[in-house]
């Protein structure tokens, strides 16, 4: 579904991602882990095509097509959707108006907003004074309405209370289960969301580089025990062996 080849990205002339190689196959859910400032959000923004995130080299290939030069809306219409970590506020535009603009024909805005306990937010300006958890739910509502084939979830559970994590997980699954081929890239620090959405693999990003690709939950365990630094030094087969021994 998505293939990233040798990708380097810079933001205002600073390289934030270097030589990234990643693949997400149909139906896969890749968990992306990594410390603050390691470039996780930047990777999502680059996949989506945000103008601040310039491709220095490499390719982004979606559904077999090089999308390096496509505009954001073209990528969205090809089937990529993103749940933002920090979406902007849009004054004067009501959430309901935005939903009407992005939804497909059979999407019932009121019913789905109710499901996400967002009904009364429909008549508020987009993201204006929303709490952290409210932003997550409103982002999910928008992604749900646009039914992407590849969903990019940026920290879906951070700042969300326990009850709402279940709700967030449920809606993420609805988005993914619309089609068995639907895939996702999920950024998480805690892995709490894994209780609801099963990752098929995981990888670590540190300092703008991918350091390890393997089982998401194992990687998370390792980070919890040994920290990110350990992951950076651990490589390939060595890592797998360590993981195995850790499990015992």
């Amino acid at each position: 579904m998505l293939k990233i080849e040798d990708l380097s990205i810079s933001v205002s002339d600073k390289e934030v991602l270097s030589d990234i190689n990643l693949e997400i196959k149909k139906g896969e859910r890749l968990a992306l882990l990594g410390p603050n400032g390691s470039g996780k959000t930047s990777l999502l923004m680059a996949i989506m095509g945000f103008s601040n995130y310039r491709i220095k080299k490499g390719n982004i290939i979606f559904k077999g097509r090089n999308i390096n030069k496509l505009s954001i809306d073209e990528r969205a219409r090809l089937g990529i959707g993103i749940m933002f970590q920090r979406p902007p506020t849009i004054r004067g535009v009501k959430t309901r108006q935005l939903m009407e603009l992005i939804k497909g024909g059979d999407f019932n805005v009121d019913k789905e907003a109710e499901e996400l306990t967002l009904k009364k937010f429909l008549d508020r300006d987009v993201n204006m004074d929303f709490s952290g958890g409210e932003i997550k739910r409103s982002e999910l509502l928008q992604v749900l309405a646009s039914s992407p084939e590849l969903s990019l979830f940026d920290e879906p559970e951070s700042g969300v209370d326990l009850e709402n994590i279940a709700l967030v997980g449920k809606v993420m699954n609805r988005i993914l289960d619309k089609n068995k081929d639907n895939a996702a890239l999920i950024i998480t620090h805690t892995g709490y969301i894994f209780d609801y959405v099963e990752p098929t693999k995981g990888c670590i990003l540190v300092g703008g580089r991918v350091h390890c690709i393997g089982d998401a939950k194992q990687i998370l365990q390792t980070i919890k025990k040994h920290g990110y630094g350990w992951c950076v030094t651990c490589e390939g087969e060595k890592l797998k062996a360590k993981h195995r021994s850790l499990e015992k």
């Binding site: 954001i72 935005l98 603009l101 992005i102 928008q142 646009s146």
Partner: protein
């Protein structure tokens, strides 16, 4: 740098040669039934908020070029006629002419005095409160003419009057000059809501000269909407609050297309104790130049007034220059202002694009949000007209 650029433009774009317009044109016949208007005329009037079907209207005045084409009230206690007719009917009306607007103010007022072409007279009798607005349309049907109108609105004591005026041109009119003298009187405890929607042709020059006198406890609400291309538009309407507790509020929504030039301000002079004023402007430049002025002058105790101007620049071209002025001659006044001008935010556009909206759709949505008119507290009928005007402008601009 920026300032200088605007100044030099002012002298360029502000220049109008009155003699280059025809002052004679054929007359248009009076229509009993507005359905006799041509489809094109109806369409252009509608875009200026004037509804020929008169649904949800209390009466209509239509002037085409130099002829009164329709003039009728549908509501008891509301009067609708041309100012020419009104002057014949009411001897006292002389006192209302050139009282708040001075005929010697500039070349345009002078011209309107020596060569008037009617204008509307709208009046709500004492205590009359109509459900629906009166509508008036000043229409330019012939190419290259000058139209000088003199309008009077009187809201007598305790009355409540809403007026929608639309200015428009026939689709084949390319060039013209409209001079509109308007003098409004809001008597004790009365309330006048005046909404003006401009829908001129691209090469029409417009010089409204408007002033309002508000008496004790009276309220004057002025809404001005100009979303269509206009060559040059300059106006600086003024309200004088002369009675205790009088209130004035000016809302303006301006959209400058490429090559449009607008120099628009609102001025309130608070002369009476406890009077209040608010000036709110939303200006969008999609390539044209806007000078948004505002002036609050406090001359009496316990007055309160606020001026707010926000500007949004959508393209790389285009200038918005906000010039707010506060002036107080005594101490116990509360005058304030805020002004903010900025470019449309890239991250907002891209956010919407990530949801599948094209760049144009995203810009339009943001601009519409920026122009959010719900802050203006318009009556429903007017709100609908404004929404319609914004939608149709959006379709053309992006």
């Amino acid at each position: 740098m920026r300032r200088r650029k605007v100044k030099s433009k002012t002298s360029q774009s502000g220049k109008i040669d009155i003699t280059s317009y025809k002052s004679k044109t054929k007359s248009n016949i009076y229509l009993e039934d507005l359905q006799e208007l041509s489809a094109d005329q109806k369409k252009n009037m509608l875009a200026a908020g004037v509804d020929p079907s008169q649904k949800a209207r209390s009466g209509t005045y239509i002037q085409m070029d130099h002829s009164v084409v329709h003039s009728k009230s549908l509501y008891p206690g509301l009067e609708v006629m041309s100012t020419t007719e009104a002057l014949k009917k009411y001897k006292w009306l002389d006192d209302y002419f050139w009282k708040v607007v001075s005929f010697s103010a500039d070349e345009f007022t002078k011209r309107a005095q020596v060569q008037p072409h009617h204008g509307y007279f709208l009046r709500a009798l004492s205590g009359v409160k109509a459900t629906y607005p009166l509508q008036a349309c000043l229409f330019i049907n012939d190419n290259n003419i000058i139209q000088n109108v003199h309008n009077i609105i009187i809201a007598e004591e305790g009355s409540e009057l809403e007026v929608i005026t639309g200015c428009a041109t026939a689709s084949d009119v390319k060039r013209g000059l409209h001079i509109g003298i308007s003098e409004f009187y809001v008597k004790k405890g009365a309330r006048l809501t005046f909404t003006m929607i401009h829908n001129w042709a691209e090469d029409v020059a417009v010089r409204p000269r408007t002033a309002t006198l508000v008496e004790e406890g009276g309220t004057f609400l002025s809404n001005y909407i100009c979303l269509k291309p206009v060559k040059t538009l300059q106006m600086y309407p003024k309200a004088e609050l002369v009675g205790q507790g009088a209130t004035a509020r000016y809302n303006s929504i301006l959209f400058a297309h490429p090559d449009s030039y607008m120099d628009i301000g609102s001025r309130v002079i608070l002369k009476a104790e406890g009077s209040k004023a608010e000036i709110i402007t939303r200006a969008v430049s999609a390539g044209g130049d806007i000078i948004a002025r505002g002036h609050l002058k406090g001359e009496a105790k316990n007055i309160k007034a606020h001026l707010e101007c926000r500007g949004l620049i959508v393209t790389d071209k285009g200038i918005i220059h906000a010039i707010p002025e506060l002036e107080a001659s005594i101490r116990e006044v509360d005058l304030s202002h805020e002004a903010a001008v900025g470019k449309i935010a890239r991250d907002e556009i891209e956010y919407l694009m990530a949801r599948g909206l094209s760049q144009g759709e995203a810009q339009a949505a943001i601009v519409r949000g920026f122009l959010d008119t719900s802050i203006m507290g318009l009556p429903d009928v007017l709100q609908k007209e404004v929404d319609k005007a914004i939608s149709s402008c959006e379709k053309e601009a992006f």
